[in-house]
Every structure is written in structure tokens, then in C-alpha cells.
């Protein structure tokens, strides 16, 4: 069918646009900037905040350009004095109920409200008056909610309800008392929130942010008694640069390692190596399940948001989850055992800090099971954003830093470990190892393009050693729910499923640098970051986890063999159904 177009005039410029496009889209096409606030492309298009109002000739009142469809012959004015004044008032009214503490706010400098205030030359609060007061909710190990800074744009609600299909938060109360909260205003910790952190990524202000561990880490760094080891996840290196003005998808591994060393960490390790280890164990578990008639499909367990989701919603299906801990937990456990013994360091004096693109990892590292013989696997988890803040605190000129390499002996990683950071990566890495093992030979194929890309559910069938192995790669909890319902109904065709809680995988995790709605509408952030990871993989000499010499050494010296008793003690865990929040 041929596409229909409409022609309209915006600020005197004739614009031809697809039928069904909004005025905002049409305006963007010709470079006319209309400010927005509640708008989040394809997620929250509700016209709530009234920031994007424009004048349409012949129409009473203003139109909201983010939802108003362009019509044939429409004459639109986006910057008349009346429109500007109305927008200014809208902003004034939002500001009149916003706790303004920009100087100490984590979002200062990256706040959409602050940017608008600057743009509109707001020099005073025009309508000061009564403000709604809310308690800060910092009970959960991952997310802090400060509703005194909330502007009721509802981007978080839309993300939670429509993208992830969790619906942990919604608007409660009415009128002036309206606020975004959980059922009966409970703490996020006590409801069905999975701590994926996508709400934080969508928040335009500082109303939602991660629970910081920065100060704790500084304290440990200053303590000469503590041996502080840091490890960084694959997705961190391709996003950290953004916080320092570098283009999206720049690989800043070298600079990041230098920065961490300068900040005083005793050892800087690569979680990619942990990822390789996860593949060794996970691929082995998968092979065992296939050969011995274990529970299938087997589902990956690297994403703690997903694990919490499964425990809350599908307690009866937890045997499908791989018993492997996530890479950073495995790696933490190894550092405090193998590495500590080898180098004669007291394991109780080692502090492991993981830099992750994730806020659910903060929750994961606080889980009771995540310890061996009473020693915590990982002590602190920092997000990519927190690391950026620490680098700034340390006064390092990040973009000018020279490159350096991860520390030995556990600094070497394969390309398979690197792609863990994007959706499909774990599957691809696991397949590379599983194929070699099952076929008993070195298979020359590295790339499995069917599992790459942005689709929420990707599936394919592979011929491995005479068996048709059906695999699926899932990202986003809404899609995860679909797969789980299939399994529950008993008609899941798959053998192996990778699930990541965040749409797009770790590169789009809840701990990554926050992108404004404008950037999200115009740039495919996921693709840029993921491509950077794939290019690391392509450039790697070793592209299969089991070929990584560090793995060989680890198994020879410590872990004996895949799935051994020692491996289970340090690298595996178990899950338990968690109570779902019920209204009583």
C-alpha cells in the first residue's frame, strides 16, 4: 500500500510528512525544536505536561504537538509570544512544586527540567506557594524515590507498565495530592518491583535514582588495611565515556582502567573474564541437561532483575533457571578464594567493588545466598553513573587519560565475554562453547546473527551434533512473561533461552548514563553501544570462552572441572520463590 502524506505549514515552512505523524515529528524533520518534558518516544505519548503546546490556526486553545496528528493544510505556529508565555507559565507551575536543590542533586547537569529552566531563562520561582511533601523512600537496596522532585510526567509509570509490564507504580491520590507511588504507598522494596531501573532511565529529573555506594567505596579505598579490588562489566566501557561528553558507543576501556588505578584500587579486573567463567559453567550445565534429560528449556540467570521477576511471578518454574551465579558474583567469589590464596591475601580484608550497568546488581549482591563460607562474594556495586561521578570527584581529566590494561592474572577475557553486555550476547557466547564441546571439534563459526538485534524475542534453530537445538533470546520483562507463560502452559518449543530484564540487554541497563528523551527519540542508543561491544569481540584474538588461557589455568589450579563440587560451591547458587505483593 502506498503511504499517504499530508502537507502542513509550520512557522511558515511547508512540511510534507507521513499521515499519522504528529506535529512534533513534522517539526523535527525541518529542524524546528519544540520543547518537551513528559514525551518519551513510543513509551509515553500522553500530552500531559503541556510543554510542547503550539498554536494551530483556527483552533480554540493550544494543541499539544507531541500527540496532535498533523493534518492536511494545518497552519502551525510554534514560537509566537502567546505560546512562549504559556509554556513559560507551564514551566513556572511545575517549578512551583519542585524541590529545587540542584546543587546537591544527582541529576544536576543532566536534568531535563533544569535544561528547560535554563532555556526559558527562569531567574526566580514565579509562583512560590504550598508544596506537596513526601517522605523519601530509600528502603530498597537499589532505588531511591524522592517525590519532592517529581513533576508527574508519568514516564516511569509508562515504562514500568507498558514496556516491562510490571506496573509496580502508578498515580495515587487526586488533585494537588497526586503522586506517583506504589499500592497503598508502600516502599518499592515491598511490592513487585524487580529493580530493573528502567524507571530511572526514563525520569527527566532527580526524583528517581540509584542508592549510591560512592561514599562507602571511598572509605574502603582510604583504609590501608583493605585490599580493594574492582571489576567492570562489559557494558560499562562502551557507555562511561558518554558522561564525559564522548560519543555514544565509544569504547573507553583503557581510560577507565587508568582512572580506576589512579583512584587507588589495588587491582582492576575485567568482569568479561567472569563472563567467560559463567559460559564455561552455563554451557556445561546446558549440555548436561540436554544429555541427561534435565529440565528444559534452560534459562540464563545473569540478569538479577529477571531473576527477581521469576522468583516473584513464576516460583514453580525456577528449576528452569541456570544455577550459575551472574558473572560478577562468580568472579567476586573467585577473587576471595583462588586469588586470595594464591597471593596470600586475607580474604576477609578484600573488598570487591563491581562497576555494573545495572541497579538490580546492588540488590543481587545483598542477597543472602551470595556468599561462600560467610564471606560475601561482592561488597559493593557501583553503577556506570556512579563511577563517572567518582572519576569527577577524583579530579581526573577523563578524556585526556592514557590507556592501560586490566591487571593480571585475571585480566584476560575472550570476545565472548565482551558481548555479554548486549541482548543475545550470552546466548552467542554459550553457543560458541557448547557447539565445540558437543561436536567435539573446533567449529569455525563465531557469529550467530539471528540472536543479534533489537527485537524483544529472537529465535532460531541450530543443528548441533545431530540435535535440533531451538534457542530464544529475550530482552525486556514483558517479553520474558510471554516466554514464561508458554513454559507454564507446557508448550515451549525451546531448549535454551536467554533472558535479560532490560530491553536491549545490559547496554541499556538501569545503571547506564541517562539519555534525554530527545536523544532517545533520534538516536538508536542501544545499537551504538551494542555495536561497540561486537567490535571488541571482532577484534579479539580469542573469541571463545573455553579457549581463554585464564579459564584453563583456573580449572587446572582450582576448580578441577566444569560443574565440579568446588565449582558448585563458589559459582552456583539457588533460587527461592518470593512472595508476590497481595492486597490484604
Amino acid at each position: 500500500m502506498e503511504e499517504e502524506f499530508v502537507t502542513l505549514t509550520i512557522d511558515g515552512i511547508e512540511v510534507k510528512t507521513k499521515k499519522g505523524n504528529t506535529i512534533l515529528q513534522a517539526a523535527q524533520k525541518v529542524g524546528i525544536d519544540i520543547p518537551t518534558l513528559c514525551f518519551l518516544k513510543e513509551i509515553n505519548e500522553v500530552g500531559d505536561c503541556r510543554m510542547c503546546i503550539v498554536e494551530v490556526e483556527g483552533r480554540k486553545g493550544f494543541a499539544t504537538s507531541c500527540i496532535q496528528k498533523a493534518e492536511e493544510g494545518m497552519v502551525v505556529h510554534t514560537h509566537t509570544p502567546e505560546v512562549l508565555e504559556a509554556r513559560h507559565i507551564v514551566l513556572d507551575l511545575i517549578l512551583s512544586n519542585h524541590k529545587i536543590e540542584c546543587l546537591t542533586c544527582t541529576r544536576s547537569g543532566n536534568c531535563e527540567l533544569q535544561k528547560l529552566a535554563e532555556k526559558f531563562n527562569v531567574q526566580k520561582i514565579e509562583y512560590p506557594g504550598e508544596m506537596v511533601k513526601h517522605e523519601i523512600d530509600d528502603k530498597s537496596p537499589s532505588i531511591v524515590r524522592d517525590f519532592n522532585k517529581c513533576i508527574l510526567c508519568r514516564r516511569c509509570i509508562a515504562t514500568c507498565k507498558n514496556v516491562q509490564e510490571i506496573g509496580a507504580i502508578d498515580c495515587i491520590e487526586r488533585g494537588f495530592e497526586s503522586c506517583i507511588s506504589t499500592t497503598y504507598d508502600n516502599s518499592l522494596n515491598d511490592v513487585d518491583c524487580t529493580f530493573c531501573g528502567q524507571c530511572i532511565e526514563s525520569c527527566p529529573t532527580g526524583a528517581l535514582h540509584e542508592k549510591e555506594s560512592i561514599n562507602d567505596v571511598w572509605v574502603r579505598l582510604k583504609d590501608p588495611e583493605t585490599y580493594v579490588v574492582v571489576q567492570t562489566a562489559p557494558a560499562v566501557r562502551v557507555a562511561l565515556g558518554e558522561e564525559f561528553g564522548m560519543p555514544i558507543g565509544t569504547n573507553v576501556k583503557g581510560k577507565m582502567v587508568t582512572a580506576l588505578k589512579r583512584m587507588g584500587f589495588n587491582k582492576v579486573f575485567d568482569t568479561n573474564t567472569g563472563a567467560d567463567l559463567t559460559i564455561m559453567e552455563e554451557a556445561n550445565e546446558f549440555i548436561e541437561r540436554i544429555q541427561n534429560g534435565g529440565v528444559l528449556p534452560m534459562i540464563t540467570s545473569c540478569s538479577p532483575g529477571w531473576v527477581r521477576f521469576a522468583e516473584k511471578n513464576y516460583g514453580e518454574l525456577l528449576s528452569h533457571l541456570s544455577s550459575c551465579k551472574s558473572p560478577h558474583q562468580m568472579f567476586g567469589a573467585l577473587i576471595k578464594s583462588y586469588f586470595a590464596e594464591k597471593y596470600g591475601i586475607d580474604k576477609n580484608k578484600i573488598c570487591i567493588v563491581s562497576v555494573m550497568p545495572c541497579i538490580a546488581k546492588k540488590y543481587e549482591c545483598s542477597r543472602e545466598e551470595m556468599e561462600v563460607d560467610g564471606v560475601r562474594d561482592v561488597d559493593y556495586v557501583l553503577t556506570t553513573r556512579e563511577l563517572a561521578r567518582m572519576i569527577k570527584q577524583a579530579n581526573l581529566d577523563f578524556t585526556e587519560l592514557e590507556d592501560s590494561d586490566f591487571d593480571e592474572p585475571m585480566g584476560e577475557a575472550s570476545g565472548a565475554g565482551a558481548i555479554f553486555g548486549t541482548t543475545g550476547g550470552v546466548m552467542e557466547a554459550a553457543i560458541r562453547t557448547a557447539i565445540d564441546t558437543l561436536e567435539g571439534k573446533n567449529v569455525e563459526q563465531f557469529e550467530y546473527k539471528e540472536v543479534r538485534g533489537e527485537k524483544g524475542i529472537k529465535e532460531t534453530t541450530l543443528q548441533i551434533a545431530g540435535i535440533d537445538v531451538k534457542i530464544a533470546v529475550v530482552s525486556g520483562l514483558a517479553n520474558a512473561r510471554r516466554i514464561m507463560e508458554q513454559i507454564k502452559a507446557g508448550n515451549s518449543p525451546y531448549h535454551f533461552v536467554e533472558i535479560m530484564a532490560c530491553p536491549g540487554g545490559c547496554v541499556m541497563g538501569g545503571g547506564q548514563p541517562i539519555k534525554s528523551s530527545k536523544v532517545r527519540a533520534t538516536v538508536d542508543v542501544r545499537k551504538l553501544r551494542a555495536d561497540a561491544l561486537y567490535s571488541i569481540d571482532e577484534k579479539s584474538v580469542i573469541r571463545k570462552s573455553h579457549e581463554n588461557p585464564v579459564m584453563k589455568q583456573l580449572y587446572e589450579e582450582f576448580l578441577e572441572k566444569q560443574g565440579s563440587h568446588v565449582a558448585h560451591k563458589y559459582l552456583h547458587t539457588e533460587y527461592g520463590a518470593k512472595e508476590k505483593y497481595e492486597i490484604t
Partner: protein, 128 residues
């Protein structure tokens, strides 16, 4: 809007507040999503249209013509009209009206709570 109106009633507003109020009302009317928002400012806008003088009096002279705004209302007895009957004094709930029998009465502004009882009780319409 409510807060600015309250400021005006309390005699704490300036002329700039009237400007702010009008700007706010006009724009809420134009920019609101729903009919409620579009019509909520109407009472403000129509009173501004027909009684702007009174708004100004509230802001500049801190005066309320009708004495409805209790904080700035000033109830006085017109000595020309007062016949010294004492009815107002008897009815005043806070004993704010002073004066001896057969004398014209005076309201003690310090004590007066602007309740209006005296106005209602005066048979000669001498109070206002």
C-alpha cells in the same frame, strides 16, 4: 491562583500579583487539557474584567469595599448617622464597641473581629 487571591484578601499582595494572577488565569484557560482546566480560571477572569478597580484597591490601598475580606476590612460607625442607641454595643460578641450611654459609639479596631453583627443590628445603617 488561590494563593494569590488569598494574598489579595489578606492585604499582602502588590499590583504585580494582579498581573501574575491574570497571566496565570489566561494561560491555564488556553493550555489546559480538559474542560475543567479550561473553565476553572473563568471566575477569576470575569471578576477581573468587571471589578478590576476593587482588585487594585485590595493591592494598593489594602482596602476591601464590602468588608468581606476580614483581614483588611475596617468597620466604622458613621458619627453623623449614629443615634447613640447602644444596640450595636449590646450585640457585639467581643465587646469591641466603646462609649457611654447616650453617647455616640466608636469601634475599637484592635478588638474588632469584623463579624458584622453590629452592621446587622444598627437600625440607622450607621455602621459599615
Amino acid at each position: 491562583m488561590l494563593e494569590i487571591l488569598e494574598k489579595l484578601c489578606n492585604g499582602e499582595a502588590s499590583e504585580y500579583d494582579i498581573y501574575r494572577l491574570e497571566k496565570l488565569a489566561v494561560n491555564i484557560k488556553k493550555a489546559s487539557v480538559c474542560g475543567l482546566g479550561q473553565s476553572a480560571p473563568n471566575p477569576v477572569l470575569s471578576t477581573l474584567r468587571y471589578f478590576r478597580e476593587e482588585f487594585k484597591e485590595h493591592a494598593i490601598e489594602k482596602k476591601c469595599r464590602t468588608n468581606e475580606c476580614k483581614k483588611i476590612a475596617k468597620i466604622e460607625i458613621d458619627p453623623e448617622k449614629c443615634k447613640a442607641c447602644g444596640l450595636c454595643q449590646r450585640n457585639c460578641p467581643v465587646e469591641a464597641i466603646e462609649g457611654e450611654a447616650r453617647e455616640k459609639r466608636v469601634i475599637n479596631q484592635e478588638k474588632c473581629i469584623k463579624c458584622g453583627t453590629c452592621i446587622a443590628s444598627c437600625p440607622f445603617q450607621a455602621i459599615g
